[in-house]
């Protein structure tokens, strides 16, 4: 490893810690959120340096992009509910902190990591040995959708659960925002086809290259968020059953496949090798639609009204 690369890694690692510190410590919440988004983008770079391009894509799209959009939208709503509540005096709080406990915890964790570093034991060999039977050639997709498919099934259900909880809380009645002007509208008209194409490409490429359902779903969901920002809303006849179908089709299809495989006498989510590629693509396509719909609706914050708000 050359000196230059070591320098970049050290700089990136220090930059991450510094941005996290500033995001938590600066008194203005808006500034904190912006710093957090920058932190997410640096995280994506760190994943690239760690040779994890799949994670980098997911981090850039979800960790930085969509989480940032959710935080900013929540801050705007908070401003309307409690205008005084968006500044937090942090200096008072930072003083009387359980600092010693945290230093001890940090030192313990650091020692544990340092003791584990010399001999990283991975599952590369096992994954490589079984990759041929998984139906895909990207090892990360093979782990996500085949070897540990139950993880991913539960994860898709967690996303659905979060949406159900958010909907049943109904924090705030839907509200018409000021129109953002013609530029965003035009940008959206140009970008929407590109984003849909990019999502389809990521979904397809996930079988053999970095990409997959989560990255594709996040890109498609970001298209939905942009549309919501530009003031576009679903037609009232689409917000009922069609939207709900789009939201449950991913977890539903996944469960159906798992159930059908159980019926044929196989263990949970163990695909027949001949069908594995097709089944993974089917599950991923449905999951992409549901992830995109769920993320966009979570951004909107409230249950889309069947009739336009008065």
């Amino acid at each position: 490893m050359s000196l230059l690369q070591t320098g970049i890694d050290a700089l990136l690692a220090l930059g991450l810690v510094w941005l996290a510190w500033r995001a938590l410590a600066c008194p203005d919440l808006f500034r904190g959120i912006v710093l957090f988004i920058a932190f997410g983008l640096l995280m994506a770079l760190a994943w690239v340096r760690l040779e994890a391009p799949d994670v980098a894509l997911a981090e850039a799209a979800i960790g930085a992009g969509l989480t940032g959009a959710l935080l900013l939208a929540a801050l705007a709503r908070l401003n309307r509910i409690a205008p005084a509540g968006t500044r937090a005096d942090t200096r008072e709080a930072w003083r009387n902190a359980p600092a010693l406990l945290l230093v001890l915890a940090g030192a313990g964790l650091g020692l544990a990591v340092l003791s584990l570093l010399p001999e990283p034991a991975g599952l590369q060999a096992q994954v490589a040995a079984e990759l041929g039977r998984s139906g895909v050639s990207n090892p990360v997709t093979a782990v996500l959708l085949n070897f540990r498919g139950y993880d991913t099934l539960l994860e898709v259900l967690v996303l659905l659960l979060a949406l159900l909880a958010a909907w049943s809380l109904e924090a705030e009645p839907p509200r018409r925002e000021a129109a953002p002007g013609p530029v965003l509208d035009l940008l959206l008209r140009l970008l929407l086809p590109v984003l849909v194409l990019a999502a389809a490409y990521l979904l397809w490429a996930g079988a053999h290259a970095p990409g997959g359902a989560f990255q594709a779903g996040a890109v498609l969901g970001a298209a939905g968020v942009l549309a919501l920002l530009a003031g576009w809303r679903l037609q009232p006849h689409l917000t009922g059953l069609p939207l709900r179908l789009a939201i449950v089709i991913g977890p539903g299809g996944f469960l159906l496949v798992a159930w059908a495989l159980l019926l044929t006498g196989r263990p949970l989510l163990e695909y027949p090798p001949a069908l594995a590629g097709a089944l993974i693509l089917l599950i991923e396509t449905l999951a992409t639609l549901s992830i995109a719909a769920t993320l966009a609706v979570l951004f909107q914050g409230s249950r889309p009204a069947a009739e336009p708000p008065a």
Binding site: P180, G181, V183, L191
Partner: protein, 99 residues
């Protein structure tokens, strides 16, 4: 290193210089409008130079095409977003900087 390599290195360095100048402007300029001015110059020209340099190095038309597509998308998004930021600032009544 051959001729194209030197050219690519020159382009990359020039691009980095634009980013440096843009960042300096972002940090030092007095108000939101002048900062946007500095930032868009860096993004558009700096990234363009870097994309050109990388395309020369990539040695494949497909990769070069993808890189240029990325540049075009950043141009589009950057121009729109800086317009939206400037518009938001105006609607909020943030005055322009005067000496």
């Amino acid at each position: 290193m051959t001729g194209p390599d030197y050219l690519a290195a020159l382009l990359l360095l020039a691009g980095a210089l634009f980013f440096l100048a843009g960042t300096l402007g972002l940090l030092r300029f007095p108000d939101v409008y002048t900062r946007l001015h500095a930032l868009t110059k860096a993004d558009n020209v700096g990234l363009g130079l870097i994309v050109l340099g990388l395309s020369l190095q990539s040695g494949s038309w497909l990769v070069a095409g993808k890189l240029i597509l990325i540049w075009l998308l950043v141009l589009l998004a950057g121009a729109s977003v800086s317009h939206l930021i400037a518009r938001g600032a105006r609607l909020r009544g943030i005055p322009e900087w005067r000496r």
